[in-house]
Symmetry: C2
Subunit: 383 residues, 2 copies
């Protein structure tokens, strides 16, 4: 330290750019804009007392959906085909052959796939944050079932690699159509841009120096970007929100875009897909998901809106030992300062690059500082 | 045509993927979801009668902003430094030198820049759509002034290439803080991801075959991606919304993500930045911008929200004849079916890839079908 402190780069003070090696993009960070004292949440806790069953909900057991189909009186999870799917499972139409070379400016190709809905629980008023760990284990079983089934569907009819995108939109701010706990699964006869970009960066990762022996290696014995990253985050601690000894860590990633974005990933070994989870890992995953989501809800004492997604190996599953994929979950919540103040991804962020004020380290600290007990239980809302 | 029509790929019927050669990404298109008849707009026209001057508006002439600074009684455009900038113009802090190789998973670098606001007009109740063409010509002059000035600022202090991002967020849905007509300019000591990606694809464009002699060439005499694209769109017509003989075309691009996204670009010659506009081109640009924005407002009879951004050559301007950049504007409006139904970019779109139902061709048809006269003038709202 010299007398130059005032002009030495300090990422907690100075505008800077961070690099996301998983997708090869940057984020502009403006920490000088968060110098004002953190005002905390000033709104009253959101205690919407939802009924355990809602006759108007198209997802509740026994109710009839808009297409006229009646839901069974399911007791556990319930999977059905989306009544208004963005993808169709019918065979691919044929493309007219042309003698002209393809025009790179007007390239389109037919795709196929399937859109499913998975109800997490029969009870209308629950959320993943307030479900039992065992119930979340059942949800993961439901995801496994769909992943296997969709793999067969694609194998039957395609030679190409496909993808199963498991995700959840929670809250009307994220376009969710109903509060009933549920997620979606879209299968595509190709690997979409986001996971394809990640897989490309995982496959081409080359560390600048040999990682320490304490960092686990990938299934091929080589350094693995996401395993080395998770190991470093566990050591550095400052961005860790939750850690589960079964081998999972939840961090606000160094390159987070959303204010309270979380990356949930294994830190002990490479797990190409949820099919390779041990029972202990699956239970640990359920446990850490619940803990993360309780912290989210407690941050502004509201049902925290988010999009959550699972990235794993493409379909149909090939030899898992040859996979570069590492199972991980992204949580992208839009809230910024309270239950009603959201981040807008507009203007410079659309035209230039994504930007944030709060640093990832500040966000992780805030998430660690809230209670581990759900706010609705504290104020005595009946379960 | 054989008897196989039912299974021959038809992009107006079948789910497909389109490729965006400007950024190397795809969009999933689900046209089968728009088979239902177009319901048009069912809400009453939005006729918010704003005052010509609002004492509470921080952008109106003569008013005092939150920082305590008083706006002059400006008559034309007015440019000032953002009171709460995401970037600072102070000299770059120095980075501690390290003996260790840089860690690709924790890479950050200090950046500098500047954030400015440009009021388009002293009148609180106007928008670009309702301003006179001459007044929009003045706005473009304002942009030119900032571009030159920011270039000098960067040249003085940096050796690296920078970027001037001119943009506008319009409407509270896009996070705009005030209805007063205004835009923003963020200058950065680097080229942000979006324009950098575009410039990379422009620089590496290699057409699969020699384009027709009727397609204009770039300044280097070679085929240019955006010039060939614009020339093809002018010929094909189906995605063209407006065309100005001075050399501008507004299209819903083949690879549009937002329902009524528009790309406004030159089709006659390469124009690296707005500094190279002829007076005729500048006036034509003002004219076509106004026409596009009138169509937007008329689509749902409301002040159409959008983010608009200008991409052009990086800073400091080097020899324009060696530039690959082509001046163009992106318009990203969030509305889908009415003044209140917006598209959410969530779930699969965040985790997989962007998706749309309405095709670019359908969107262009709807924009062409609305009146050229602003709805507020039709119902006799006084200017
Ligand atoms: Zn991922
Ligand atoms: Zn662009």
């Amino acid at each position: 330290m010299s007398g130059q402190e005032s002009t030495e780069f300090d990422p907690t003070e100075h505008p800077h750019r961070r690099f996301n090696p998983l997708i090869g993009k940057h984020v502009l960070v403006s920490p000088h804009r968060t110098k004002r004292p953190w005002k905390g949440q000033t709104e009253a806790p959101v205690l919407a007392q939802l009924p355990k069953y809602d006759a108007e909900c198209y997802l509740c057991p026994g109710n009839t959906r808009s297409g006229g189909i009646q839901n069974p009186k399911y007791q556990d999870t319930y999977v059905f085909d989306n009544d208004f799917p963005a993808l169709l499972s019918s065979p691919l139409p044929t493309q007219r052959t042309s003698s002209e070379p393809p025009n790179p400016m007007f390239t389109s190709s037919p795709v196929r796939g399937q859109c499913k809905v998975i109800c997490y629980h029969p009870r209308h008023d629950l959320t993943l944050a307030r479900m039992e760990v065992d119930d979340i284990v059942s949800v993961i079983d439901g995801w496994k079932g769909i992943y296997i089934e969709e793999g067969s569907m694609l194998r039957e009819s395609s030679s190409s690699e496909g993808h199963v995108q498991i995700f959840e939109n929670r809250g009307s701010m994220m376009g969710a159509s109903a509060p009933h706990p549920h997620g979606q699964v879209w299968t595509t006869s190709y690997v979409p841009d986001e996971p394809a970009t990640e897989l490309h960066h995982l496959a081409t990762y080359s560390p600048p120096s040999t990682p320490p022996a304490s960092h686990p290696r990938g299934l091929d014995g080589k350094p693995h970007l996401l395993l080395s990253y998770a190991a470093e985050e566990v050591e550095r601690k400052e961005r860790v929100v939750e850690l589960d000894e079964s081998g999972w860590v939840a961090v606000v990633p160094f390159w987070a875009v959303w204010p309270f974005e979380i990356l949930l990933l294994p830190y002990k070994r490479q797990i190409p897909s949820i099919l390779q989870l041990t029972p202990e890992e699956q239970e640990g995953l359920a446990r850490i998901m619940k803990k993360v989501l309780v912290r989210y809800d407690n941050l502004f004492s509201c049902p925290f809106p988010y999009s959550m997604g699972l990235h794993q190996a493409p379909l149909p599953p090939i030899d898992p030992t040859k996979e570069v994929a590492q199972t991980h979950f992204h949580f992208y919540p839009p809230l910024l300062r309270s239950a009603s103040v959201r981040k807008f991804l507009v203007g410079f962020e659309m035209m230039g690059e994504v930007q944030r004020d709060l640093t990832a380290e500040q966000a992780a600290t805030r998430l660690r500082d809230v209670s581990e007990v759900h706010y609705a239980e504290k104020v005595g809302v009946d379960q």
